[in-house]
């Protein structure tokens, strides 16, 4: 496995070396983590886009076992208003005009009534059958890739070592909030570990959000519901599971957006190098004035 150091070094000390320009490099991400990270990113993109295609076939959400067609919790539709067609989103009783994006958007220059616009669905045109094929194949990739990540994370100790906040971090939670607000992140020894907000967010995504996503998806399956009725019941019924699945997708999108923004503002080249080659710079060996990563 090329020049990568031992994957499961027994304790927390990540391998370290001095790179060109006197940078201190730590081996931050083992190969399995890097691979599963990028596969996960691609798979989630396909799942999001094909999921929105599927949602478009019946762009309304309900709570409970069945659809209460007259009183959806959320509906994306189009309606005539003042002689013109408008895209609208109903959230309970409240109505929002979303023309151009939701409910009514341009598809290849033609105004089209569709919940999510064609540029964000897979396939681009209205095609539930193919959307389902993409979604269910890539759902398997998500589960297999996620299982690999979790198994590796558990048995290598990475999950515990890298993601469980340490005592001092929990005590200084406020300090981490301040760091984020000022977009000023630590260097040197402290950069060897994730900050506390980062750790809790990753834990939430990896152990709560993604599993909830998969389980809510399974809870919608009539076959799984027959085999494991408790799962659908856990979500409060099939239509609730569908709503949870949609909300969880929204939270994942939110996570990815924030994640990318923070990657950009906290040293994009260094972060990308870390997730591509494994080596992450924590500053110079002999800080001379300003530290340049």
């Amino acid at each position: 496995m090329d020049a990568s150091p031992a994957l499961n070094a027994p304790d927390k000390a990540a391998p370290e070396r001095v790179g060109p320009n006197g940078r201190r490099l730590i081996y931050r991400h083992p190969l399995v983590i890097r691979l599963t990270h990028w596969i996960n990113a691609a798979v989630l993109l396909v799942l999001l886009m094909s999921g929105l295609q599927i949602f478009n076939a019946h762009p309304a959400l309900y709570w409970g076992a069945v659809s209460t067609f007259d009183t959806p919790a959320l509906a994306i539709t189009s309606e005539e208003s003042g002689g013109a067609n408008r895209g609208v989103v109903y959230l309970g009783d409240r109505k929002f005009d979303t023309t151009g994006v939701l409910g009514l958007s341009k598809d290849a220059g033609v105004e089209t009534e569709r919940a999510f616009p064609s540029w964000i669905t897979l396939p681009a045109n209205q095609d539930l059958a193919t959307g389902r094929r993409w979604h269910f194949l890539f759902a398997w990739f998500l589960v297999i890739n996620g299982a690999l990540y979790l198994l590796y994370g558990l048995f290598s100790g990475q999950l515990r070592r890298r993601l469980i906040p340490e005592g001092d971090q929990i005590r200084d939670f406020g300090g981490s909030v301040k760091e984020h607000l000022l977009l000023k992140f630590p260097e040197g020894e402290e950069a060897k570990r994730y900050n506390v907000i980062q750790k809790l967010t990753y834990l939430g995504v990896v152990l709560v959000l993604l599993p909830a996503m998969v389980l809510a998806g399974l809870a919608m399956s009539p076959g799984v519901d027959a085999a494991w009725p408790w799962l659908t019941e856990l979500f409060g019924g099939r239509q609730s599971a569908r709503s949870v699945h949609f909300i969880a997708a929204g939270l994942l999108v939110l996570f990815v957006v924030v994640h990318i923004v923070l990657v950009l503002v906290s040293g994009v080249v260094n972060n990308l190098r870390g997730m591509i080659t494994g080596w992450f710079s924590i500053g110079r060996v002999h800080p001379a004035g300003e530290d340049a990563r």
């Binding site: 396909v46 076992a65 095609d127 193919t130 993409w134 009539p222 239509q239």
Partner: protein, 306 residues
Amino acid sequence: MILHRRRLLTATAGFAGASLLGGCDRFAGTETGRRTLSIGEDANLYVQRLLMTGMTTAREFPESMISPWFKPNGSIDPPDTAYKALAAKNFSDFKLKVDGLVDTPLSLSLADLRALPSRTQITRHDCVEGWSCIGKWSGVPLSEVLKRAGLKPQARYAVLHCADTLEYASADGAWMQPSHPNTVREAHAAYVQLAAADDWGGSPTGAASDGEKDPDATDGRRPIRYYESIDLFDAFNPQTILAYDLNGKALPVSNGAPLRLRVERQLGYKNAKYVMRVEMVSSLAGFGDGKGGYWEDRGYEWYAGI
């Protein structure tokens, strides 16, 4: 060395990303693409069958949870001459044919079917589009009918032939929808629009013809009627019934009168309405495009357990 590798990896990731977004639709349009994407269905069928036995039943609900309105979908008023004639006489002339790989072909009237053992179940109907309704179904278990007909050992699937025409086919490849009153037509058009997956087939050769000239053929266009198929695993499940009542009353036309299939562990489109004939077969190859159903021929999964 790191720089070199980084550039290589970035380029690879960039290329993968670009082709992911730009090439997905093209990929799905190829034969390899279709076959690859179908692996998910195979996996789902295999795993779900591991999770259940033939006797595993879908959840049943209390009366209090029955939906006030059971949304009809797909055909809601078949335009077919033969069907209209049956409906005009309240289906008193209706005969369900049971044939194919059976020892004794049957022809059963509604009275015959009602005289057979019956089952009533309150179940949730999940449409492939995403919505659900709960309804109370009464009917004769398909297993009771098949036991009386007796299966030949080669029989592997039950093909449900339905009365409703969804579109017309002709040799020139043009499609045409049946004529409906305006409102019905709109709903119908929206439904057929879901079949936009031309890539998956749904070729204008359409469903198998009986050879006889069809009274509903117009301008030389042959009607393509709804059909479905299930295997013996589902055919002999106790909840798999040919339903004649919905919520304690005779099945309305919009919900599939006089008889519809209930196969509760799968999605709505497997639950064929307007069932006229149950044909036992060893292979689905001879029907439509050979995928086992009207929607299956248009890209939807034959196994609709998810």
